[in-house]
Structures are given as structure tokens and as C-alpha cells.
Symmetry: D2
């Protein structure tokens, strides 16, 4: 198929490359000339504006957005809508909040443009192994895009699927990331307990390796943790500072809205907040309070 890729960053560039390898024609747009040149080097076309991109594609057009969620996606959807015609299709493959996607879809519908939200997992490994894609949109629209998804996925019928109507793709991806937070935190806590049991002198990478085969906790994340621990057993030079990129919060918000108790996913997120606060007001007030009622010594800063 022929497709326009908007956003040629880490993710977009790799996805375009995988599509090209799969025999599709990809024309890419990115504000960076280097990014466009890079795509050309892999056999794709390029356009230096959204307008040029839209003009370069035959109708009905298919455009894949792979840009940062939030304002940039909002603005891109708006700009694109002004350029597209009835029957064209827009796929948001980024990490948009599913509520934004519902809004984008409504705008598109008004103009007769098809909208598909595709939650994409795979990170830096997707180019080689394929991307996991959770797709939301009208059944016949998604059907028409099958060749694209089948190429991007780990296998023709593997690792991707239409999970429901518009919005459900990003919703499912959001929950995927919430689960990811919980899984990561569970492994990290476990390895930390092992690490602190100093008298046993445990080799965490060795243990991770043992668990890779036959154990109940085997997983891809375990393999990555094991690799990380092999390369850097003491985590030297790494600050205990854990970023979150938004999906975890949205998952907690969804849990709150749906009245679902999700303590583990929620705590995993809050532990990340805590990791980034090396001057916790909460803890200072607690220390101060202990001093107030018990005369307990306060550690000075």
C-alpha cells in the first residue's frame, strides 16, 4: 500500500523502514531535513510540509501520525483535516490519551475522514521483531488497512488486532502500559530484596538467567532486566530517578472513573513520583512530627 508517515523520530522512522522492507510505498514528513534524508536512504519518499505530503499521495489517502501526544497531535490532526478529502484515512499510532482520540475521531467524522487509533508497543525492538498494535476504528476501515498492520506486526496474524471501535485502541494500549508499570515494579522490588540480602552474596543476573527458563516469572521484561543486570550489576552511575510518560496516570484515572481498585498499578506510578522527589515535603513533615510528639531526633539536611 501507499502511506504517508507523519513524524520520523525514533518510532516513526523505524516503522516506515519496516513498511518499506515489507514492500509498501512510504512518503514521510518531518520538520527535520536529516530525518527526511534518512528515510530517503531507506527507499522512501519525503515531503517537507504536510501540504506537500498530502499532495504526494493518491486518493483515498492513508496517513499515519507518529508524533508526541497532546498538543502536537491535536495540532497535527487539525492541520491535516484542513488538507484531507472525504474518504481519506488518518491513523494515530502515537500514545494519545483515548479521550483525545475520541475527540479527534469526532472532528474527522464531521468531514467524512476515517479515523483509526492504534496503540503501538515495541519500542526500540519493533523494527526487528515487529510492533504490537491494538487498533480501534470502524471494522471496514481497519479491514482496508490490513496490509499495513500485517507488515508492521511480528507476524501476519500475530501481535495486532482490531480490539473495538474508535478510542479502544489507545485505551487498550494505555492499560497495557499500566500493567507494564506494575510488572516492572514487581521485578525491581524483588531484585532489590535479593540485593539487600547481602550475606547470601547473590548474583542477580545469574538469578535472572535461571528464571528465564521454566520459572513462573519468565517474561520479556525479565530478559531485559537480566541483560541490564549483567551489564551493570551494581547499577553504577544510574540515578534512582524514574520517568513516567503519561499512560500510567491515565490508567489510574480510568480506574478511578470506573470504580476499579487497582492498587498495584497505582502504587507503581506513585513510586515513580517518589523517585523523582529527593526532598520530599511529606517525609520532612513526618520527621518533624515525630520530633513534636516524641522528642525524636531529626536528621539535619
Amino acid at each position: 500500500m501507499q502511506l504517508g508517515m507523519i513524524g520520523l523520530g525514533k518510532m516513526g522512522a523505524n516503522m516506515a523502514q519496516r513498511l518499506l522492507q515489507g514492500g509498501h510505498q512510504v512518503t514521510g514528513f518531518d520538520p527535520s531535513a536529516d530525518a527526511r534524508k534518512n528515510l530517503e536512504g531507506h527507499g522512501g519518499g519525503s515531503a517537507d510540509s504536510l501540504k506537500a505530503l498530502v499532495q504526494a499521495l493518491p486518493a483515498p489517502r492513508v496517513l499515519w501520525l507518529m508524533v508526541p501526544s497532546g498538543k502536537i497531535t491535536d495540532d497535527t490532526v487539525d492541520a491535516l483535516l484542513a488538507l484531507l478529502d472525504k474518504g481519506d484515512t488518518m491513523i494515530d499510532g502515537g500514545n494519545s490519551n483515548y479521550k483525545d482520540s475520541l475527540g479527534h475521531a469526532a472532528k474527522c467524522k464531521d468531514k467524512g475522514v476515517n479515523y483509526v487509533d492504534c496503540g503501538t508497543s515495541g519500542g526500540v525492538w519493533g523494527l526487528a521483531e515487529g510492533y504490537s498494535m491494538m487498533v480501534g476504528g470502524d471494522e471496514q476501515v481497519v479491514d482496508g488497512l490490513k496490509p499495513i498492520f500485517e507488515t508492521l506486526a511480528p507476524g501476519k496474524d500475530k501481535g495486532w488486532g482490531r480490539v473495538g471501535p474508535v478510542g479502544s485502541g489507545h485505551f487498550t494500549k494505555m492499560v497495557h502500559n499500566g500493567i507494564e508499570y506494575g510488572l516492572m515494579q514487581a521485578y525491581a522490588e524483588g531484585f532489590s530484596i535479593l540485593k539487600h540480602k547481602e550475606e547470601f552474596g547473590l548474583d542477580l543476573a545469574q538469578i535472572g538467567n535461571i528464571w528465564r527458563d521454566g520459572s513462573v516469572v519468565r517474561s520479556w521484561l525479565l530478559e531485559l532486566a537480566t541483560d541490564a543486570l549483567s551489564k551493570n550489576p551494581e547499577m553504577d552511575g544510574i540515578a534512582p530517578y524514574v520517568v513516567d510518560s503519561g499512560e500510567g496516570r491515565w490508567t489510574v484515572n480510568a480506574a478511578l472513573e470506573l470504580n476499579v481498585s487497582a492498587p498495584v498499578i497505582t502504587l507503581s506510578l506513585m513510586e515513580r513520583f517518589r523517585s523523582r522527589d529527593d526532598d520530599s515535603f511529606t517525609d520532612k513533615l513526618l520527621a518533624s512530627l515525630r520530633n513534636e510528639f516524641g522528642g525524636h531526633a531529626i536528621k539535619k539536611e
Copy 2:
């Protein structure tokens, strides 16, 4: 009544003083000559060894232990038992684990010595306001000690009681402290949220003061937090480092043994662990893992 006080630290000295003010006769033992001299200054007697203390008291003797829990209490109970006679009474007013108290009581019973465990709350405020005491022991033994408890308590019939058999005093005090952890954490989290809402420029001490009257969250701990926030609104010079003294862990252990879900008390304890770990292996591994699967940047130490 006549009573021997073992341990004249912060708590023991104040309790002896309150007993003396209440008309009781108190002879105190402490390894520190200064501590003994201080008690004499308040009208008490003193002894420079456990043996001397025991000899200074008329039978049946009443001895109040106010020493650090764990090994020191264990050793003191053993040493004392070798000196006491049938019918004497030992009261452990310290923060012993209730399981230790059950063990101490069994040893005492073998020799016909009465054992009473008294969980004591009140901190630095007890001398002036009276101590909250949760007492475990045989009903008639506790009855015989009433004059002591009535003097130490905030009022004759207030702030103290026999809650059950031996062990139950320290068990109840342990849970009291577990609750205390949860209450403190709830206030500290709330004030921290207020603090971080910078655009409102909230005065936390003012808010604490408002809440002192008529609000649902009014409490003694709130008053202390308000005082602390009045004196030091930014918590300047206080490290975000929160000590725990053991009862919180025991409360969690009790919850585990009793199959009671106690997430808030447990998390309050674990937040204290976290506050003391400024180089969290858990968080470093999480940051490393994010890099492994997503190529996300790692903050360097």
C-alpha cells in the same frame, strides 16, 4: 505506693517524677549517676544496681521497667527474676514486642512472680498531661496496681485500662502505633499536596489552624503538625528521613499472621523505608529497564 523504677531515661525519669508528684515513693535505678541524681533532686530514692534496688524495696515488691525493648529488656527481666521473690510484680512499661512479653510472663510465672505489660503512649507530653496506658495482666494483679496507673494517667479513670490478659497491653500499644503511622502519613500527604499547589500560595499552618476547630480531621497530631508548620513552614534544614522504631513492623507482622489486609498502615511503614534510601536499587533498576525496552534516557548519578 512504693515502686522501683528501672531505667531513668527520657520516659522513665518523667514517669517517676509524675509518680512522686502524685504522692508515691519511687526508688530508681539507672546505670547513669546523673540520671539517679536527677531523680533524687525530685524527691526520689536511688540505687546503683538492680540488686540494691530490689533490696531497697519492701516485699511484695513492685518494679517498673522502662528500658529499651529487645535484648536490654530481655536481660533485665532475667537479671531481675534472679533477685525477686514469689509475689513480687514486674511491670514492663516499655515498647516490647507482645510476643516477648508473653515469653517474659511465662518465665515469671514459673517463679511465682507477677508480670504485667503496659503499653505506654505520651512521649514528651506525658509528664504534664498524663500517660495513655494499655495494660495486660491478671485482673487481680492489675487491680492491686491501680494507684500507680491512676497517677500516671491523664485522670483517675481516664486514659488507661486493663485491656486483657498478659501480652494484650503491648499488643494494643503496637496497633496504636501502627494507626499512628497511618494518621501521620495521611496528614503529611495532604499537606504535601497543598504545598505543591503553588499557584494558590497556601499557608499550611493557617490551614492547620482552621482545621483545629469543627473540621472532621481535627486531632492532637494535627495540632502538632500545625505547630511544626508554624515554626518552620518550609521544613528548612530537616532531612526527608523518617525513622521507625519497630512497632509499625510488628503491626504489619500481626496483620500478616491474622490475614488482615492493612494497606494503609503497611504503606506508611514502607514509605519510611523509602525515605531513608536515597539510592534506591529498585528505582535504578526501573530506570535501567526503561532504557532497555524503550531507549529512554537515563539520568546519570
Copy 3:
């Protein structure tokens, strides 16, 4: 002062009554004729429509809204705005989300109407003991309303205050309720641990009473818990079903927005969700999963 009270439910009726007792003139509006008649019985005036209420008050008018938060408050603000003149004042004393209040204030400002948000705590006890009020709004506007707040509060200068600009009153009240959730959960967990330690046969109400004096955990909520445990030690006939009325969720949302880790407040909320889900899908899947990997028996429904 002269004031119009909109909403004569449990809270509004009691507040009107306290104002009347304090020498203010109160005209009330409520769709229920009984509610209006009740206010008249306490010496107030009444109006059977918002329009009639506005007409009954001298300019510049002061109107206190005490209606359910959300759509009803939104609609009332809109309806009222159409009737008011420049210089009139609207006070929202209900449990509105502070973001809604910011929106209401902006609308009012456009028409020159003053807007004040007042977070009110006190529940069924406020009539007798006074209400705790956290007030947000322009300084001079709040100053002009002082006589009202001084009468509603537990004391002239006690239990109320202007905490900051518009929105900050409801924000502070929201966090107050978040703290309340945490405090309640801490007590409930603690009493539950005591309850489950069956061999000690503890009397929870007695213990609550002991803690009322001199203990670190003394508070108004403890007094209420003690009363509840005195009246119904086994909690007979009470379903383990805990409602939340919204402020807890908003507090968690605020923590997420502000990057503040607030595990105890958050867990307290989620435990309430859990209490209302007697058929947890999470737990069923866990049971099913244990069976899948370990062949562990599943309890049948």
C-alpha cells in the same frame, strides 16, 4: 447581614438556622415546600423560585449556594447569574470540584458578580458546634462577608479563614477530605487487627476510650469510632460497603497532576472501591491464574 440560602437540605437548613440564631436575616429557596416551611419555622423568610429569592434581597445581594456539586451547581450558577447584578456576591458552600469553581468564578467575573468558594466541613455536627470553613476569593470580598463566616464558624476567629484566591477554598476542602479518608482507613485497619486477635478478647470500645486521653492517636474521628463501637461492637447489620462522594478521587487526581506520591490517601480510596465490589473480576482472574500454572483448586461460586 442579609443572605439568601439556596438549597435547604440537611446542610443548608442547618446553616441557615445557625445564621438565624446568630442574628442574621436569611431567606431560603428550595424546590421542597416542606424545606421552606421548616426554615420559616426557625424565623427565616422563603422564596419559591430563584427569581423570587433574588427579588427579595436588597442589593448588593449575597447568595449562598448549598446544593449538590456537579450539574446541579453548574445549572444553579448559570440561572443565578442571569438574575444578578454587578456587585452581587455568590458563595458556593458545597463540595464543588475546585476546577468547576474556577470556571464559575470566571463566568461571574465577566458580569461583575463576586464569586467565593467555601469548602465546608462539619456534617451533622455543624449546627451545634459550628462549621469549619476554608474560603477562597478576593480579599476584600471575603472581608465583607466576615459576619457570616464568624457566625457559622465554631468561634469568631476559629475554624474558618480565607486561604487564598478563588478556587483555593474548595481545593483545600478537597485535600481535607483526602486526609479524612486516610485517617479513617488507618483507624479501621487498626481496630480490625485488634478485633482479629481473638485470643485477647479485646473490647474495642474500651480501647478507643483509653486512647481518647493522652494517646498520640486521639482525635475527633477516634471519638466517633469509639461511639460507634460502643453502640455496636460487632458492627451487626452493617454491610462492608463504603461509599465515596468524590473529593477523594479529586484529591488523587490532584496528586497525579502535581506529581505528589500520596499512597495512603489513594489506597484509602481504592479500598472503598474494593468494598463495593463483591464479585471482583481481578480476584477471579487471580484465582483462575493460580489454577492455570499450579493446578491450585479454585473455590466455586
Copy 4:
């Protein structure tokens, strides 16, 4: 090698069978004649008492214990020790608390018997796929047992290893299970959020299948969850009642002893407690307390 297997339940029988398939000679003991007959049917020998088992094996003997942890393991170790000679080896392959294992090892050492603790994971799948084994013990003793571990493991050098001295095998397995609790809870919470988003009508098994390839959350547990959801999408007939078998508690205890904050593992355990308490005293007291201060209605039982 030649080996005596003590305990021919689900796990022991399968392990004996896998050893037999690997060319080892296995003599088994179990109180159940059926279990012994079953082993004979697979080509093993059997003994109807520990004594007979010990006599049937050539010195130096190797005995593998696969019996329930706690008292039964304690008693078996004691009984066996009375029958063994210097140079014999005992392997505890069950789920013993590592502290018990340290005690068992000390007893064995006194008599010159080798002791090895082997934490075993694999459940009902081990027979076909091999067992994950974390082994603690003296290096040369474990070396001598290599042929056994290599056969039981998923591969000669895969899925097993000596992780450290005596005790470290069961410690590592304990943490493995703690992690497992966290992983399971994360998946279950995530699927529950998906389930409750009713307007999207999501097919959880389909989503689990998508995630199996290319996604960050792919794992063996996810595959099992997907299978479970395929077979029974609504979890019909399954009670929301989740058992824990001890290792989770021990992991939390270890975290407490080591001052490691492990909120996710801990909460996963406590959620299991909560799942088994359909009449939560905590929640009843909360409901009662809400009524006390706010006059909120209580749901009747």
C-alpha cells in the same frame, strides 16, 4: 544417578518421572500405596517407610524431599537424620522458609550430612517443560548433584543454578514467588480495567493474544491468563477468593527485615487477604464512621 524421592504428590511424582525419563534410578516413598504404585508404573522403585527407603539406597545416599513445608518437612528432616550416615545428602526441594532451611542445615552439619535447599518452580508444567531450580548449598556438594539438576531443568545449563550458600535457594525462590504475586496482580488489575470499560466491548482473550507477540508485557503468565480468559471470558463460577501459600508473606517479612520498601509485592498479598474476607470489619467500621460524622446512610447487611 540413584536417588530417593520422599513425597510422591503432584510435584514429587512428576519430578520422579522426569528423572526416570532422564535415565536416573528413583526409589520413592510416600504414605499412599497408590502413589507408590504409580511410581512403579513409571519404572521406579518404592519403599513403604523412610527406613526402607534409606536401606534401599547405596551409600553415599541422595534423598530429595518433596513434602509440605513447615511441620511435615521439619519432622521428615528429623526422622531422616536419625537414619542417615555421614556423607549422605538431603535436598529439600519444597517450599520451605529459608530460615527453616538454615536450621535444618545446621542440624545436618552436626551429623556430617550434606544439606541442599532447592527452590523449585514449574508447577503442573514442569514434567513436560522442566523445572526452574534455585539451589543453595556447598559448592562441591551441589557439583556432585549436577546430573540430577540437569535432568530436572528445562535444559542442561538452563533454568537452574547454584545461587549461593545453604538457605539462598529457598530465599531466592521465596522472592520469585513474591514477584509472581506482583505480576499476577498487575495483569489482573489491567484486565479488570479493560473489562469494566463496557462501552468498548473488549474481548480480553483477544487482547491477551495480541500482547503475546511484540508487546512489552508478554510473558508466560500472560499466556496463561489469555488461556484462562479464552476458556472462560466472564470467569463464570469462579469465586473471587485468592489463596496464598506462604512465600508472599515471607517475602514481605524479608522486606521488613531488610528495610526494603516493596509496596507492590506487599499490596498484592494484602489484596489476597481482602479477597477472602467477604465481611470486612474494616469496611463495616468505615461505613459506620461515615454515618457518625456525616449522617451518611449505611447499607444494611
